[in-house]
Structures are given as C-alpha cells and as structure tokens.
C-alpha cells in the first residue's frame, strides 16, 4: 500500500467559528463518527426509558400502569431502537472514527457517502420516533411477524413507519459497510499489511461484509411488507391465496442472525484492543482471533432457522441448523480463551475500561453458553419465546456488546475529546452497571424456566413470578442509575476532565501516534509500520515485535 494522496481528498473542515455548520456539513470521518456515536447514545437513552417503562409495568402481576396497546408499542420500539438506532450506529460510528486512524489514513474512502449514511440514520431514526405522533408507534415487535403485521390484523400506521424507516436505515448501513470495506482494502498506510491490521479493523472488515450481505435480505422483506400493506399485495398475508407467513421469517432471520454478529464482532474488536493494552502484553493468538472471526462470519449465514425451531420446518432443516448453531460456539470460545491467555502473565491495570472488558469476558460467556443450550433444539422447544431468551439475548447484547462499548468509550474518550473520563465516577458507573445488569437479567432465566412467555404485557400471579419480576424491575432501575452516573461522568469530564496526552494508556496502535484529539488531517507523519504494534516498536527499539516473527 502506498501513502494516501492527501490532495485528492475533499477538504472537510470549515472555519471553527461556524460550529454548528461545521458539524452539519461535515464530511470528516472523525466528526461523522462523533455524530454517529452521540446520536446512538441519544437513542440508547430513549430505548432505556422504554425499558424502564416496561419493567415498571411488569414489576407486579396484573398491573395496569400501561395498557396492552401502549406496552406493545414500547417493547417494539425498545427492540428496534436498541438494534438499529443504538447498536449498529454506535459501532459504525466507532469504526468511522477509528479505522482511518488505525490504518494511518486521512479519511474514509468516500467521505460524502459517509455523511450521507449518517444523515440517513438521523432522519430514519426521527421518522421512526415520529410515528408516536402520527397515530401510534409500531406495535408488533422488532421482528414484525406476518401476518400479524399485515393490514387485516394491524391497521396502525406505526408499522408503515417502522418498515419505511428501517429501509432508510438499512440503505445507510449498506453504504457505511461498503465505505468501510473499501477504506480498509485500499487506504492502508505503507507497511500496514492485512496481517498487521489491528484486530478492531479486522473485526470491522468482517462486520462490514456481513452488513453488505445481510441487510439486503431485510430490505427486500420490508419492501414486500410495504407492497402487501400499501398496494394490496399478498406475499405474507393470506395463506389461502398463496401468501406465506413463514417466508417473512426466512428473510427476516437470514438478516437477523448475521445481525447478531454485526453487533458482536466490533465488540470483539474493542475487547481485542483494550485487554492487551491494560495487560501490557501483545494479543495472544492474533491469527486465530482473526481467522475465527471469518469462521463466525461464514457460519452466521447458516444458522438463521434456529430462530424458527418451533415453526415445524421439518426434521432435516432443524438438524442442519442445529449443527451450524452449535459449531458457531467453537470460534467464539477460541476468542474467549485467547483473551484470557493475553491477560495471563501480564501486568494488569484495572482501569474502568479494563473492568468493563473483564465484565464482558464473564457476561458474554454466560450469554454464549445459554446460546449453546438454545442450539440444542429440544431445549429450544421449551425455552423459545420465553424470558429465558430475553435473558440470553441481553447477556449477549448488553453483557457483551454494551459492556464492550463502555470499555471502548473509557478507552478512546481521551482520543476523541482530549480529556480523560473520571476514573472515580467510572468505578461507580461500572459497579452499578454490573449489579443492575445482573439483577435485571439473571432472574429472567428462572422466569423463562418457570413458564413466563416474553412480549406479554402482564402476567398472572403464579408461584415466584411476582417476586422474580420485582427483582428484575429493581435491577433495571439500578441500571438506570448507573447510566445516569455515566452521563454525569461524560458531562463533567468534557468540561473539567484531566487533559489527555497523545497516548495516555501507553497503547500501541496508530491512533495513539497523533494528538488527542487528532488534527483534521489525522497525522503529520505516520510512524513506520513494521509489525502489528508500531508504537511498541518505537518505544522498544531494542526489542521490536518484528524481531519475533510478527512482521
């Protein structure tokens, strides 16, 4: 790879006094990254409030705090928001900010397309939330199973808003995916070979390929639904005249399962950056982590029907998809062991970022293991669509993805803003999150095993249901307080936080070789890249990595 021809890239940054305009009109990957992340964080708060409303309703049996109509809108919006307006944007935003820096580039490959992707997210999100004022939010779940989502059963305009805004978001995501792929493949600085890419970039590459391949399945599904609802088509609605309810599910999960990895792989990337730096050791088994990610990427397209074990697809299908789903546990396990091996023999610093990474190791493992029980499909025949699944998916997406995002936030915040987050508030934030998260979701495993279905607006007072739900609701509010502490921390640190040096953690990847925050052009001079850890090589000229055969 050659140096990037700086002159050929569009000039991004207007005069600093035009603050507002400089954001709105920005095509700079760092500003767009920040926009992505703040938008995502805003929607995270919306989704969080929705979660608290649900937990308030479910705190006691047969409560009437919310009507079934309101509850259904709120749980649908919670799921949709957390997946499409928080999970994906925060990870795409992080990649947007970090990938060019990590590969020594000046910007992404297509800066204008990048801005376009972001604004699709912004307006797509607004459109989805506007439905609250336009006759009701969508109310048939983030999965919108047909035929419930079809005209004869749901006249709510919310579902049209849902389909349209997801279509808008989907187009933005595909564009972002293409942009990241091309950036990683073509804009690497001299010496940054594919085998020297930071693992975060590796994970982003595989994620982006998944986005480009999986999102179109959702997009066509949405178009078919809209044709059914608006133009009187019949892809999914009436079985008697050839519509197929199962067809919707195939398309949805052909997207939906890779989506899980779209949300998980970048998290793996964050963990693979944070753990080595705070253990003061090179990542253990770099090649195996990268290769196992590719394996996960491929397998993720061969497991979707494990969401459909109760549909009655037929024995051969169930068996094949069970096999795929079980296999995917292996490359995931490989990663966990490599991360632990990275810590082994290290000199571990317990910063808030590292604490979140350690939390990730434990809680993601719990989510992964309960996932294996689901791949064993006779067990899934019991716990499918119960609170056991709610617990499982939150261990994966909160204990996994969100914990990793927080680890990344504490780690890269100094780079983004030039200021450190407070470690004292950080510890409070971390421990409250751990307590709140586990109190909320651990008991939900038990609720599922005691027969409680998910997506139910209320429940009868059966043995233990009341008390377990109450515990879960209390946990949710503790989690809410933890997030408040995080907000305070960000707020206070932005104003008064300790100034960050270029490389406050003594890290080794290229983003730490420039100032905090980086100048518009990213680097004055990119240090030579002769191994996976260019900054280690700079500091340790006596013992550079490339002497160890890691060139």
């Amino acid at each position: 790879m050659s140096d990037i021809p700086v002159t050929s890239l569009p000039h991004a940054i207007p005069h600093p006094r035009e603050r507002m305009m400089s954001w709105v009109a920005s095509v700079d990957h760092k500003q767009i990254g920040i926009l992505y992340m703040t938008t995502a964080f805003f929607f995270f708060l919306c989704g969080g409030v929705e979660a608290l409303l649900m937990r308030a309703q479910l705190a006691f049996p047969e409560e009437h705090f919310l009507s079934p109509g309101a509850y259904d809108q709120i749980f649908t919006m919670h799921g949709t928001t957390m997946v499409f307006l928080f999970g994906m944007p925060v990870l795409i935003g992080l990649a947007n900010y970090l990938v060019p820096l990590m590969i020594g580039a000046r910007d992404v490959a297509f800066p204008r397309l990048n801005a376009f992707s972001y604004w699709l997210l912004f307006f797509g999100g607004l459109m989805l939330y506007f439905s609250f004022f336009a006759g009701g939010a969508p109310n048939v779940g983030w999965f919108s199973y047909a035929p419930l989502s079809e005209k004869p059963f749901s006249t709510s305009p919310g579902i049209d808003y849902w389909a349209l805004s997801l279509l808008v978001l989907g187009i933005g995501s595909v564009a972002a995916g293409i942009n990241l792929i091309v950036t990683i493949l073509t804009l690497r600085v001299k010496g940054m070979t594919i085998r020297r890419l930071p693992l975060f970039v590796w994970m982003t590459l595989v994620t982006s390929i998944l986005i480009v391949m999986a999102l179109p399945a959702l997009n066509v599904d949405l178009v078919m639904l809209l044709i059914d609802r608006k133009l009187g088509g019949n892809f999914f609605a009436m079985a008697a005249t050839g519509g197929s309810a199962i067809l919707w599910q195939h398309f949805f999960w052909a997207f939906g399962h890779p989506e899980v990895y779209i949300l998980a792989l970048p998290a793996f990337g964050i963990i693979s950056e944070v753990i080595p730096v705070f253990s003061r050791k090179a990542i253990f088994g770099y090649g195996y982590i990268a290769a196992s990610t590719v394996a996960i990427g491929i397998l993720s397209f061969a497991v979707w029907a494990h969401h459909m074990f109760a549909v009655g697809l037929g024995r051969p299908w169930d068996v094949a998809f069970a096999a795929g789903s079980m296999l995917i546990a292996i490359p995931t396990g490989v990663k966990i062991f490599n991360w632990i091996a990275t810590m082994w023999g290290g000199s571990i610093r317990f910063t808030t970022s590292m604490l979140y990474a350690i939390g990730f190791l434990i809680f993601f493992t719990i989510g992964g293991l309960s996932g294996v029980t689901l791949a064993v499909f006779p067990i899934d025949w019991q716990v499918h669509d119960t609170y056991y699944i709610v617990a499982h998916l939150h261990y994966v997406l909160f204990g996994g993805t969100a914990f990793a995002v927080f680890a990344g936030l504490y780690y890269w915040f100094p780079k983004f803003t030039g200021r450190m987050l407070s470690e004292r508030l950080g510890k409070w934030n971390f421990w409250l999150t751990v307590i709140g998260f586990n109190t909320t979701f651990m008991v939900q495993h038990a609720l599922g095993i005691l027969g409680m279905p998910r997506r139910a607006w209320t429940y009868p007072n059966l043995p233990y249901w009341g008390i377990l739900n109450l515990i879960s609701s209390i946990g949710a509010f503790i989690l809410g307080i933890a997030i408040l502490v995080l907000i305070v921390n960000i707020w206070v640190s932005l104003k008064h936080g300790e100034r960050a040096s270029d490389n406050p953690w003594g890290a080794w990847s290229l983003e730490w070789a420039t100032s905090s925050p980086p100048p518009p052009e990213n680097f004055e001079k990119v240090p030579p890249v002769r191994s996976r850890r260019p900054l280690w090589d700079l500091v340790h000229p006596d013992d550079p990595d490339w002497l160890h055969g890691n060139a």
């Binding site: 035929p147 064993v376 006779p378 019991q382 027969g451 160890h548």
Partner: protein
C-alpha cells in the same frame, strides 16, 4: 399452586427434554466455572506489580488446538444427544390421523375432539397414558402452544398445519400459554391442560357429547331468549340453537369449564357476570365487545349459561 416448569416432566417426551436440558446445563456450568476461574486467577495473580513491561508472548499453537478440539468434541456429543432426544420428544406423525385439532384464535383456543365431534375451548382435556396426536392450525395470526410439562412447544401458523404427539403420563392440571406474540392479549392466551385417567376422561367426553336440555322457565329461560336475540349467537355456538359460528368459544358446556377468557378468570357465576358486563375490563382489546348489558340481562344470561353442563 404447583410450579410450572419443563423440569417436572409429565410425559415421556418432556422427560427426554428435561434430561437433556439438565445434562447440557451441567456442562455449561463446568465451562462457566472454568472461564470464571481462569479470569479470577489471572486478575489476582497478574495484577500490576511494577512499572516494567511483562514478557511478551504472542501465541501458542498447541493451546489453540486444545481449546478448539475440546469444545468441538463436546459439541459433537451434544449433537448426538440432540438427535436421540428429538426422536423421543417428537416422534414421527406421518401416516397417523390426528385425534384432536387445536385452532388458535386471537386470543383463545378452539379444541376439537375429532373422533367424537366434541368442540370446546381453552380447557384442554387429555386421557392419561393414551398418546394423542394433535393437529395445530391458526384462524388468524401465528400463535404457539406451550405447556412446559407436556413436551415441545409448537407454532400454530396460518396455512401451515403442524402435528405433535401429546402423551401425558401423570394426571393433573398443567398450565401453559401462547408463547408467540399474537397481538394485544397475547398475555392472556393461557392454556389449561387437564389430564385425566381414561375412565374419567371418557366420562367427561360423554358429558360433552350430550346436549344439555333447554330451560323452560325462570331467569334461565329469559337468559336463553336473550342469548338468541342479542348478538351472542352470531359469535358463539351452543349446540341445539341453530347457527354454529366460531368467532368466539363454543359455549355448549361452558358451565363445565374451569376458566373464562382463556385463563383470565376462574369460572364462577360472579366472574361470569363480571365478564359479560365488561369483557374489555379483564382483557383490554379482546374480540368480545362490551355489549352494555343491564344487570338484569346479565343475571338472566348467567342463569342460562350456568345450566350448560
């Protein structure tokens, strides 16, 4: 009230699943303990002690093989165990004609005993020790039949009938629920599976086959007349009255049922009256409208419905 869980199996199908579940959970526990143990050891033993950088280690191929192959072996074992369990918990249904047909409605269950022609709702009676092949269909959206003690759950999908063997081996009442989100009252689409010894079951079936005599005097007669003149009769079937719609549960033997509104209320005269007065109060969104009946009308209707044994 007994707890309701897949671990207390009441059928050979569920016995197999619950056994597999426990075995897999034990293995998961072992792995979790290993991972937590390793992490705990690492954070205690390798916490920062001095300023110097530790020795850099970049990987170890032998270890990579170990933690790839051991889990692979475990997964292969799970796969074989899965195939075994599946053969027991979901035996083949092809070539058998179903004994029962269960149709999911928003938000109640229509139950047909195909050999005798009996139609009922929500309370589902099974003979103990007699394998029953049930066919599942849907009248509107996707629902899902789930009674934890009795075995696998199964979706009720429009245009895609499913079949499942249900073979209860212990008498008792087993609570279940619709598990697939099916709209506003998904929460109150509950199942009451009642397993009876064959003799009792046959007696129950006999009772359901005979049409109760029509009342000839008093409030019950007034109730019967009301039932025919109000819209009730356009949604509910009562054998002997003529039309047989299925927009609402079949009420031919409503007084013999244990619950009302798919498990929403226990079936007492008081609850029945309250339900008729305003079903929306108990199941907001239910397909049965509030017909704004007077107290007198409600009392007469209850008097009539209570004769339907």
């Amino acid at each position: 009230m007994p707890i309701n869980t897949p671990f207390i199996a009441a059928s050979p199908q569920e016995q197999a699943i619950s056994h597999l579940f426990i075995v897999v959970l034990c293995w998961m526990g072992v792995i979790l303990l290993t991972v937590t143990g390793l992490v705990t050891y690492a954070i205690i033993r390798y916490r920062k002690k001095g300023e110097g950088e530790p020795r850099q280690i970049f990987g170890n191929t032998r270890l990579e093989w170990i933690w790839t192959l051991l889990p692979l072996a475990l997964v292969c074992y799970f796969f074989v165990a899965t195939l075994h369990t599946m053969a027991v918990s979901d035996p083949p249904t092809r070539g058998h004609s179903p004994d029962m047909l269960i149709i999911g409605h928003q938000w109640w269950w229509e139950v047909h005993y195909l050999k005798s022609g009996v139609v009922t709702a929500n309370d589902v009676h099974f003979p103990v020790g007699v394998p029953t092949l049930v066919e599942f269909k849907s009248a509107d959206v996707i629902h899902d039949w789930w009674v934890p003690e009795l075995g696998p759950k199964i979706d009720l999908i429009p245009g895609h009938p499913n079949k499942l063997w249900i073979d209860v081996d212990k008498p008792g009442t087993y609570l279940g629920t619709c598990a697939q989100f099916c709209g506003a009252e998904h929460a109150w689409m509950r199942i009451r599976a009642i397993a009876q010894e064959p003799a009792q079951f046959d007696a129950w079936l006999k009772e359901q086959e005979t049409i109760p005599p029509q009342p000839t005097s008093g409030p019950a007669l007034a109730g019967l007349k009301l039932f025919k003149s109000l819209p009730c009769i356009s949604c509910h079937t009562i054998e002997g009255l003529g039309p047989t719609p299925d927009a609402g549960p079949n009420l031919t033997h409503i007084a013999t049922r244990e619950t009302l509104g798919a498990g929403r209320l226990m079936n007492t005269p008081k609850n029945l009256a309250a339900w008729l007065k305003d079903p929306q109060k108990f199941k907001p969104g239910t397909q049965m409208p509030n017909l704004r009946l007077t107290n007198q009308q409600v009392n007469d209707l209850v008097a009539y419905l209570e004769t339907l044994r």
